[in-house]
């Protein structure tokens, strides 16, 4: 089975280059696809697309607000995937959503793959509950990425590192998306990199160039979500957000690992 997400991220990190993965809430604005294109042009190694759910239990106020706004626009998984399928975006796409939406459709993973989305993150499916979903993802050619947290004990961390596909998603802080970046993330990423050769991305609370550079010292790269979504909620255009991402790219490239 090909591993589009993992291969691309492994390639991206060659020579110590740091990976940069922006997050976008699908359907946040009618022109949401343009943000994906801007991110792809401005240094994204992959893009995480949030499929909005009514009860996003791991999201802080910013991404909750973005999800609510998208849902009020009437977006559906089906509609969002149709738009993605028609778009040309030449970096790997990863869906992030909650298990109720995944379990709602028996063809969920197949539909993702058909739309060109080859990665999946479901934060309310921990490794113990992941088996059925991992099987249907694999059958559809979708890489199911698992999350690790600062409180995860060592034996579970090893299990997560083994079972995760694409990369390992290291949650930097005991909190929700958009929380303040914490040093606990560095320790977690370091532990994970000793356990696996898979790319390890640090996420949650990475808001500034300094946060990103600090995070990239211990991980293969970063996911930036709430900090970008805040700007979009405040009216930032696709071009403006592309420039913001380019700024992160430059900061990461300038730092020596």
């Amino acid at each position: 089975m090909s591993s589009i997400v993992e291969d691309r991220l492994r390639y991206g990190r060659t020579g110590g280059r740091s990976l940069l993965v922006p997050y976008l809430t699908g359907g946040i604005r009618p022109d949401w696809i343009s943000y994906l294109q801007e991110y792809a042009r401005n240094g994204a190694d992959a893009i995480e697309i949030g499929l909005p759910f009514s009860d996003p239990i791991l999201d802080g106020p910013t991404i909750q607000e973005a999800s609510d706004r998208a849902l009020r626009r009437g977006v559906t998984v089906r509609g969002l995937l149709d738009e993605v399928a028609r778009a040309e975006i030449d970096v790997p796409l990863i869906a992030m959503t909650y298990y109720n939406l995944v379990a709602h459709s028996p063809s969920f993973c197949g539909d993702l793959a058909a739309a060109g989305i080859r990665g999946l993150i479901v934060p309310d499916v921990p490794v113990d509950e992941a088996l059925p979903l991992a099987a249907s993802a694999e059958a559809a050619g979708v890489e199911l990425t698992l999350l690790a947290a600062p409180t995860t004990p060592p034996d579970r961390l090893a299990e997560i590192a083994r079972a995760s596909r694409g990369f390992v998603y290291a949650v930097s802080v005991m909190g929700t998306t958009g929380a303040r970046f914490a040093a606990s993330g560095g320790r977690l990423a370091g532990d994970l990199r000793r356990l696996t050769d898979r790319p390890v991305l640090l996420a949650f609370g990475i808001a500034t160039h300094e946060d990103a550079v600090t995070a990239a010292e211990s991980a293969d790269g970063v996911v930036i979500g709430a900090a970008l979504m805040r700007r979009i909620l405040d009216g930032g255009t696709p071009e403006e957000l592309g420039a913001v991402l380019a700024g992160f790219r430059t900061a990461l490239d300038a730092s020596v690992r």
Binding site: A103, L147, M174
Partner: protein
């Protein structure tokens, strides 16, 4: 009271769901990785405490001297005569704070203290669980933070004041529909940030394992007491029907647990506007798999009931399993039947039931009048709470 020999409980019905926390296909532990160690710690602590006679003795004593247990089993004489069936009421409305909620929070607060926690977090819809949590926290010297939807805070301003009087911090939840389901999500989000010092005191038989099982065990005092009281009250020993209202389903689970191994028919009464078993599909929310009211796209729907305690789009996973296996039957009652049921019980028995509990009464009235309940069959109804909190709603409806 004479000690009667009970048949051995059937191992498969309402037993320990084991470490995966499964009731058939339902239940589980669908929470973010950050909460997994905390849930595992609650499970370990609960298993240890529940097997410890000292913990059981401490809890029994609190239930007796603070909560006022055992609660009465009241024969509803005049209602029975009118309906032609023998109705017995298990009076959780007489428990301290006015409902069965106190049984669970005293158990969880004692457990939290045993785990070395100093703080309780809770969600609340109408405020009953919030008030009970604030009460248990005050009693045991813990601090309490209660999450409540902004909409519910307006509707239930008196309960907000009660919680604050008891020393709890009440935090408005402004996301989503600003009701119970959003308050539950927010309590779980906040728990992630303070797992070291805080215990999440979940209010019903829902959430990630071990909560559905643990809360049922803390509530089974209702069913265990009623079983002994029925044995003394009824010549047959066991009622023909055991009826309770179901939102998340904690009073029903506690009641059913006392009768699961008997021949009694178990009936759960859902509110029409939040009837997860009747109208929902299997889904995953707040850490567990069960029936869930959702739209055609898989977004969770907002529940609507005149009874705020039944305003939850999901239902406890064990109820989903009892439904699937046929051990319990779930029926629905609409708002229109509820207020007449409140009036009828008030005027025949001098008992003003909570709107939630009135759903169970309404079904008994309907089933007796339609002949579904055979003449002079015995019906145990758990009256989960008192109606004082609903007086404003009743005034507005009259």
């Amino acid at each position: 009271m004479t000690e009667i020999a009970l048949p051995a409980p059937a191992a498969s019905v309402m037993s320990d769901p084991g470490s995966p926390g499964r009731f058939g296909d339902h239940g589980g532990r669908y929470v973010p990785e950050s909460l997994i160690p905390a849930c595992a710690a609650v499970e370990e602590a609960f298993r240890d405490a529940w097997a410890d006679p000292r913990f059981r003795r401490d809890l029994d004593r609190l239930l007796a001297v603070h909560a006022g247990r055992p609660t009465a089993l009241t024969p509803a004489w005049r209602l029975s005569a009118e309906l032609g069936v023998n109705v017995l009421l298990k009076r959780e409305d007489l428990a301290h704070t006015g409902s069965h909620k106190i049984n669970n929070v005293l158990g969880q607060a004692l457990l939290a203290r045993r785990m070395g926690k100093t703080r309780l977090l809770a969600e609340t819809g109408a405020g009953s669980h919030g008030v009970a949590t604030a009460t248990a926290a005050a009693l045991l010297g813990l601090s309490a933070t209660v999450f409540m939807g902004e909409v519910d805070m307006e509707r239930q301003a008196l309960n907000v004041y009660r919680m604050r009087m008891l020393g709890a911090e009440v935090i408005p939840v402004t996301g989503g529909t600003r009701t119970l389901k959003d308050a539950t999500s927010e309590a779980m989000r906040q728990w992630v940030t303070c797992v070291d010092e805080a215990h999440y005191c979940l209010g019903s038989v829902m959430g990630p394992h071990p909560y559905p099982w643990m809360v049922r065990e803390f509530q089974r005092v209702i069913g265990d007491e009623a079983r002994r009281q029925c044995a003394a009250e009824l010549t047959t020993g066991i009622p023909d029907y055991v009826v309770a209202c179901v939102g998340g389903g904690s009073n029903a689970a506690g009641t059913f647990a006392g009768f699961a191994d008997t021949g009694a028919q178990l009936i759960g009464v859902e509110a029409e506007g939040g009837a997860a078993i009747a109208f929902g599909q299997v889904g995953v929310l707040h850490g567990f798999r069960s029936y869930l009211v959702q739209d055609e796209n898989g977004q969770v729907a907002e529940a609507h009931s005149i009874a705020p305690g039944l305003d939850y789009p999901g239902v406890g996973p064990e109820h989903a399993h009892l439904n699937d296996t046929g051990r319990a039957r779930y029926v629905t009652v609409g708002d229109a039947e509820v207020i007449p049921a409140v009036r009828r019980l008030a005027r025949t028995e001098g008992i003003l039931p909570a709107l939630e509990s009135a759903h169970a009464i309404a079904w008994v009235i309907r089933a007796a009048e339609s002949g579904e309940l055979p003449p002079w069959s015995t019906v145990l109804v758990t009256l989960s709470g008192r109606g004082d909190k609903d007086v404003a709603t009743l005034m507005a409806a009259s």
